[in-house]
Symmetry: D3
Subunit: 294 residues, 6 copies
């Protein structure tokens, strides 16, 4: 069960209105790397987790991410508060309101026009949040790796936002939020490696014939760059990969019951192309070529 305290985890002090910046900050509210994605990622994993320690970890962090969502949403609300009031009360001439709506920059018009200045679960382009951003699959060593990566991405988006913000109160809050992503990332790393072995994830081993093979499939700059990802340490480097590495003919086939096969052949026949034709086409008709051909 959740309980809420009206005081934020981190105090938000905004220096003045700025709907354009508000819109950029939506990346961390309703964007793919934002706090709702984080909270839902850990919450759904936590619900299905069998290990009590990991379940606790996931629920602790999910709850903190909800609190971060609240911080970001509060900043967005503060940055938009003046614009919200002016549009709702029609406090300026139409042309002035139009100019401030459109002139605040990037996609901030959508926050005002559609959402009335409130924080909305969209990214900075106005695209609604989707659970397609949540990549949990219910296997702990895979999901922990996903969580590590998600925290890494969120850290970077916070860094970019800090780089474009000069309001000291917002910078301060964003630095707190960015730092927490690092702390979470470390926790997930520890949790991953407290499961041993954790590689390969899951239960089935790989086929040893292909676990350390590297296919040089992007060519044209000989010699191809090499590095620890394809040399040394057991790597089998295939410089010029060929199809059908299994030794077969590289085709796809299926054993069909004969009545199915007959039907497929009938379909193939009915829709066959005549390679020896030179048909007149719609493009010919449209480009005057039909006339020439006659």
């Amino acid at each position: 069960m959740f309980v809420h305290n009206k005081r934020l985890q981190y105090t938000v002090r905004v220096a003045g209105p700025n709907p354009g910046l508000a819109n950029l900050l939506l990346e961390q509210f309703g964007g793919p790397q934002g706090e709702l994605a984080a909270a839902m990622r850990y919450f759904t994993q936590g619900l299905a987790e069998l290990d009590p320690g990991r379940k606790d970890l996931l629920m602790d962090i999910a709850t903190e991410e909800l609190s971060h969502l609240e911080i970001i949403g509060s900043i967005v609300g503060m940055l938009n508060r003046g614009a919200k009031g002016k549009l709702a009360e029609a406090a300026e001439e139409e042309a002035d309101l139009y100019r401030s709506l459109t002139g605040a920059g990037n996609d901030s018009h959508i926050t005002s026009l559609l959402y009335g200045g409130g924080p909305a679960l969209v990214n900075s382009a106005g695209v609604p949040w989707t659970a397609a951003y949540v990549d949990s699959i219910g296997e702990p060593t895979a999901d922990l790796r996903s969580n590590i990566a998600a925290e890494a991405r969120a850290k970077i988006v916070y860094e970019r936002l800090i780089n474009v913000t000069d309001d000291p109160g917002i910078r301060d809050a964003l630095q707190f939020l960015m730092t927490r992503e690092l702390a979470h990332q470390v926790s997930f790393e520890k949790a991953l490696h407290s499961i041993q072995p954790n590689f390969p994830q899951g239960k089935l081993p790989g086929n040893p014939k292909y676990t350390r093979t590297y296919f040089n499939l992007s060519q044209g700059d000989e010699p191809a760059p090499r590095g620890p990802w394809n040399q040394g340490d057991g790597w089998d480097y295939v410089a010029d990969p060929q199809p059908a590495i299994d030794g077969g003919d590289g085709s796809a086939s299926v054993e069909l019951p004969s009545e199915d096969e007959n039907v497929v052949q009938a379909l193939k026949q009915r829709t066959a192309s005549d390679p020896d034709s030179n048909p007149l086409t719609g493009a010919d008709l449209g480009s005057g070529m039909a006339e020439q051909k006659k």
Copy 2:
């Protein structure tokens, strides 16, 4: 530039038709953990990559994933070939076609009805592939972590598919594909750690006050489970976290120009709730309570 060879990277031998299994395999064709997501993830990263070694790595693997997409799509096509023919040629009575369409199980009806038995870029629920699955953000140490996690997830989905497949040719191909995810994962791990330092990703350091703090925000099972993710190694464990960790009052505030402030106050006034009223409501009207009140 890409070149295609009509022979597959791995030969596909399907024992017989099975539209239900075909539909499950769509997870790795047009699903979130599937081969298109993998190919597009590495391809888009590779295009923007500045480091020649990593660019080569990303393009090598992107190209291989396209070849895997082709393998999965070919299996799906083989499993559906009979059903495709029968529906196109109307080779059975309507009621029989209806039964086989609906009875093949899971969501296979959509593959037949909407896609004519061909492999479609949807997952096993029929949800179209979306680039929202691709989480690249253009920072190499974050993106490499995302790639490691993506390979881990793909490995698990292949493992599940192998667990439900008894066609030996398909199992063989799926095992190859699963193994390749492991090989890619190892390459990405090597690439990540050949960048040093790689943690924290990006350029800004965290705020040291909060990098090793752990908030016990999910409570109620005292003593809470502990583990290396929140004990030892420098962790500062906050057993009962309180709001406003920055020492402020936990509120959100903004400095508004006075004309903005006036407008906001006017809006607040106009839409104020009267806490001391006990209004008759639509629900009262709908439940007969309005009568009683009078």
Copy 3:
């Protein structure tokens, strides 16, 4: 700031595994009328709310909906727990696992295959949750009406789920959840009507010429049914509505600068259709008609 207690708001006792039912229950987890939609609806409204009483109300209920999300997710997890284990451990023959995966009914295969048996933020068809479900627009009297309607819809979906569930523990929990939607609905009704006036919402009045006009635009069953929505109480019933009710000519026009007008005319000319032609077409070429025409 949010805090979580590991104990649920309502105890969940599930009588036995049932992945098919689990999948149906996802409607209230990641579906359009589900608990995440409810929580996010009230949370985002609350963040931007200026009135302290309504802000408190919205945050109270948002927090409760998160707790409901947890209840539903926990039921889903319990119903799937056996299936999750069997697939992860490959505890049965492939053909048996395939049968149970596909045979559990409706879209439960996706929960197992893609999400490993955990609750996922999708509806019962496997469609990912989207913030397009959240219709808040940042005006309190409109948003409160949206909230009333949302609670009404959620109540109905719970009622339907209760009607198809015979597990007594689940029925009990669903009845609690359904009842809470009613309580929330009453609170939102009270909050709406404690703002006076609340109709029309917003600040601009309607144009009195059209506020009580009713256009009988669906015809053909004379006499058309009448009711309080179009008769009595000031309604002006237009039995046979005509275009251009404003008295104009019903056309759309724009004053273009002359250079724009010239360009538009050039475009119109360049792409004009010749109404007097009888052109040969691609369809003619494809149906053998081209031959006949010559």
Copy 4:
């Protein structure tokens, strides 16, 4: 069956080109609160409605909303007509066309570049319309409440558009459209309350233990604000809500067949975390800490 009259329901007179304003107006064409959403909402409800009066009402208004969609689309077309011509005919230098495309503001570039200046079923951020906006669920008293709320939201978006528009012809048309939303809202209110009782919607009553309970789950500002939504009139106010209101232990449990239970335990064992480990992690390797630890 539908019939169309080429004259609009309301004459459209646009004073001059303005692609930026056109893009904002797309909110009411292809946006979540726009006319297509309204038309489809009532049309789909009407098709399934059993009551002849309500069916007529729904079809009357659905038809009118289609006519409103046409009005908005016509305004958008007029505002973009000049831009459409210039881009299609390449009537200006590239740099000038680039500047006018990008400089018209907000997201108008997408209307020109992708849709050639025609009205497209996207909102003002360029997000395609989705049926996820239509929240009909097929129960009349719930759907009528949804309709009332939808009209309220649409009214507000029109009001905002009027507030930013100074073209008198467009303002006039928008005021007509806004007013019609109010008229429809009144009709739906009447239709709702001509069903008695209409609360609670559906057939199942709530559990009387919880229908008038209010949980004070957002805390920290004592005394919490009170109002008619949680005081008086039968409300049971729970000042400090605790988990497991049903009197149980607040846990989630399932009775598993013993073979399922064994498999689940095997899975739990295989993936258990070791809480007493202090493992070296990838983050350690990436931050130079691995060296220090040795």
Copy 5:
């Protein structure tokens, strides 16, 4: 302006309830090739069309497609009517309702559970309709080609539905609807070719060096199949295409201001991979290899 007649364009006589078939028919209601997509495609084109004849054509057919949407929706409603009643009234035991909900096949559970048996704007997999299905771009000769193709696809989906339906009344209505797609297709063909020239669409000619070049990029089955699409009639067949057909070096380059270049080099340096390292990785740590290496 639209007007509606309550009588359908084609009488619908359904022989009995069948929620599974109803769900399949949703393909033509809310699916990508369905009637809403058709209606919206022509309606949005018609609104922006400059040519009076084509505008009339587009509006005529758009209006007819809306009438077809109504026919399909009415069939769906009839097929689901019994199921709707039983679920709403809870007319059977829970277990029986569960069985009929889940056992009706394909995705019909979603129509009942979420939409109450009414026709919903989703396809047969439950995926909501999206305007991403509408591919109009505002150039008449391109859009007419899109319309021809759309009618062709819709015809095929109707054919498949007819092939799986044995209810004579539904077959009769589907045959009418299928036939109308053919009639529309012919009209669009005529409209396309009454614009001359219509190929190439738009105003810019192609670069003559590449308009009739064919690149044999899919290889491995020598000799490659040939046909009128790559032989005769002016085709220049490139049997073994090489990169950089323009004669350049096939690289991508940009002229950067020197301060930009310096920053890019700094970024490249900071994130460079060390190709000569052989780093310990997270996967090593997780597979026990780290121990071996020390």
Copy 6:
């Protein structure tokens, strides 16, 4: 199997940075008419194709479109390279970075902030690519028509981009890409017409009663425009179409088992509207009318 050559099919020479133009070019990278859509369209068709010639054609062109995707992505990367460096290295003051991020125009902020300057699979409004753009249905004569139309649309979007670009290197590459769409379109036309007959697509003939009927459903401008799409050549023009063209009564009906019928009647009864009531409503309560009525 695919192989990649690091050299591009066409050399890319960009004159200088321009994030705004980069964002527009994303239309052809991740937009609906872009190169990924093209590649996936032909690739998925090719996988299921039975005819060897068409399969080769589809794979040749799919492979070329992947190479075009690479060209566009490379241009985008070059145009953004400077901005990417400056944001990653924080090479300017925050306020300057904010200004350049927001001031580059259209939606370029999203490319920088979320994607770090790399090419992302979104369109120029930031909307993620979706497989809903791929309209293949697995019938060759329909799919070839779809391909022709897709090439036509892509050509137009390239033309528009050329019209707004004054960088000569980019114009040169765009002209190459535009030209290739024309070449592909001609190939698909040839392939379509080398199948004879190809109209009507599929196997079922239309109902001759309705194949050449034209319904004048958009009225009001008598005489209605006529053209080859509705006159001559066998067209039966219905000037004033009436419902129920089949001669029936235009109603929808279903034969329900009597127990179903009884339940439906019970539902109808329970939710009936009272047409003779004049109920007090929520809107009355909110507008002060309730008081007047008493």
